[in-house]
Symmetry: C2
Subunit: 185 residues, 2 copies
């Protein structure tokens, strides 16, 4: 257990937050990052395992159980929960957002107009697919299960945002494609 200043690093807080719901192993957490959190805060397994080790070393997590194949389940300590709350309330400095798609749109002048239009149609298709996937997911989840805890509320909020965003993206890209004059340059 080592003391140390925590700067940025949302992954840490995501891990503590997930473990707050219930103890889990790195392997379990990976599934969350590959599914529900994939579009919100993706992470690789290297990162998850290393970070869990660091957090345990820093005394923000503890191993609560060990299973077969070296499986280790972690749970947050009181210090970990305190750090999570500190981060949640420190909404002042949020990490900058990046959108590679929008950057590409900004640079579309480097392509022919046909190619540019194709790119916008690609976004449109992907948004429509995302939207369908999320609608399906929303209907598939049993939001009333007891063990969902606060995610009954907050998970649903995130899904709603993602759904509205996919709709926006689909409609915007359709509109945008029409803004490009038909003649090729």
């Amino acid at each position: 257990m080592v003391e140390g200043r925590v700067l940025r690093m949302s992954l840490r807080h995501a891990l503590i937050g997930l473990l707050r719901e219930s103890p889990a192993s790195g392997y379990d957490l990976m599934h969350v990052f590959n599914s529900s959190l994939a579009k919100v805060w993706p992470a690789t397994k290297s990162q998850v395992y290393t970070e869990l080790a660091k957090l345990a070393d820093a005394g923000l997590l503890v191993v609560t159980a060990e299973g077969p194949r070296g499986r280790k389940e972690y749970a947050p300590t009181e210090a970990g929960l305190a750090e999570l709350r500190r981060w949640m309330l420190d909404a002042g400095n949020e990490a900058p957002t990046r959108s590679e798609s929008l950057l590409r749109v900004f640079m579309l002048g480097a392509l022919t107009r046909d190619q540019a239009r194709d790119y916008l149609h690609l976004i449109q298709r992907r948004s429509a697919e995302d939207l369908a996937a999320m609608t399906a997911f929303g209907e598939h989840v049993d939001w009333d299960r007891e063990d969902m805890g606060d995610l009954r509320i907050y998970g649903r909020m995130v899904l709603e945002f993602a759904t509205r965003l996919a709709e926006l993206s689909r409609d915007w890209s359709e509109w945008a494609a029409q803004q490009i004059p038909p003649t090729d340059s």
Copy 2:
């Protein structure tokens, strides 16, 4: 001039793309990253200067003019433009997106309900401010200036997306705040 494989690295392509419009110095480019591109692909000056040097070294940019105080203006080479087009058309693997705000929403269970509601109201306020700023910006820009080149079209598209997104965010956060039961836990 050195050969080298280009992996991810959108900043490189952003730089080449901006220089495609017209030659500029690192200092000039920084202003773009601090204003119009701030919400799309932020970058620090360290990054910009180092990357310009690397790109010139790799033969993707050339220095076209030198001015006072060591000012250097860059322009893309044919190789640079080719690399830009390659990247534009390689829409398959886009960088993963991250949203710290949504991650926080997912973790709101760590706070009291009053605090959670406050956070959503904060998002609402910020979105409204962003929206106002972008509306003002859109009216302030002279979209018909000749030297805007393709940004007359594509810059406007990005602005339109950002505007719709701010509206979505404002409306969603208002809705979300209402989803939290009034009693404090």
